[in-house]
Amino acid sequence: MSGSTSMFSMLACLLSREVKLAARRLPDVMTTLFFFVIVVSLFPLGVSPEIETLRTIAPGVVWVAALLASMLALGRLFGEDYRDGTLEQLLLAPQPLSLLVLVKIISHWLVTGAPLVLMSPLLGLQFGLSGEALGVLVATLLLGTPALSLVGAVGAALTLGLRGGGVLLSLLILPLYVPVLIFGAGAVEAVASGLGAGGHISLLAAFLVLALCGAPWVTASALRISLD
């Protein structure tokens, strides 16, 4: 067997393993999703049930909730594998660690980020967003949540196995999420106020590409530091 086929079969194997594990532990996956729904539902209670107000705050609320939900889910990205020793085996594997990390991040996004994207139009409807704004909301979340998972992976790797890792993780990662939040919520808002969302979406996509190039590599170095 040549080197490249063995690498791809390894990556495919890792992907199917991750997804299978998540499918066997469906409640874990649902927790993130319901957290997202609950946080969004609290805002009308706290701010005002008036549809005009809700429509203005909707993009920000949905995006902040998505940020928090994806951050809370990061603990599971490497946590389980760290505890049962799988992670050390991955570090020893002949395949490049950054690629393995990328596969882990993708599968993590599939089980935590993608459900948020699918759920978001329903929440947008509750906040009275128009059809066009809903479409943009889904599009920005589709571009933005993978970027969140990628950037978050760096923090998850750095805080692996630390006391109070969860709170520390939020301190490290939330400031880095700022650009995603700004462009994601900004795109929806721009559409709602009659401007085009193209600029915001392009910038969001650029951020995703940047994160895609840098984050797996940095995460791999962080994992090596954490398991040194």
């Binding site: 760096v154 750095l158 301190l171 940095v218 962080a222």
Partner: protein, 248 residues
Amino acid sequence: MAINWFKYSSPASFYPLAGRLIPWFGILAAILIVIGLYLGFVVAPTDYKQGEAYRIMFIHVPAAWMSMFIYVVMAIYASLALVLKTRLSTMMATAMAPTGAMFTFVALWTGAFWGKPMWGAWWVWDARLTSELILLFLYIGYMSLYAAIDDPRRAARASGLLALVGVVNVPVIYFSVKWWNTLHQGASISFGEAPTMAATMLAAMGVMALGFWMYTIAIVLMRVRCEILERERHSDWVQEMVGRGTHG
């Protein structure tokens, strides 16, 4: 004459050098800050639009400069530490963080004092204010990560990596916040820096900035000396020096 720069990358030879340099930088800092304050608060003319309140600028602007410079320098040390694996670089990076955070806080605090009389508000969500606030969060994240890891070597490497991620993100954050503000609500308040600044004002600000630099170097060297002692406490030269200190 060829100078062996790497000689001072060893903590054992840097420790006494730092000790000799500290008083010089400390004295320079004190002199420059006194001159700068005198120029800023006594010599510089009253601003025709902002009155006397603008004088906080002589602390505010250099502090804001320092807050950003220090983060970049910290990231440079962190990258040196990751690439060359020099122990001293990691110590320098960790020693800089508290000073950088302090200057960020000073910039925000004096900015609030300046904003109240000028804009009538302690805080506005202006692009520069917001990115400075996020910079403070980055410093705090760096220091918290360092504090959370018990093994100092792992702590230094992990927080160094975080500083590098941060320094890549700082321009992204800065521009995103800037565009957010301009796209979002239009610049209701623009930072009204006078187009032509009196030469004395400029000089006062430059002298203050230099003074802050000297202060930073002095305080970082002091902190790095503590750091060296703490991390090298089991090495022979520290044992020897401490032993000599107690006997002599």
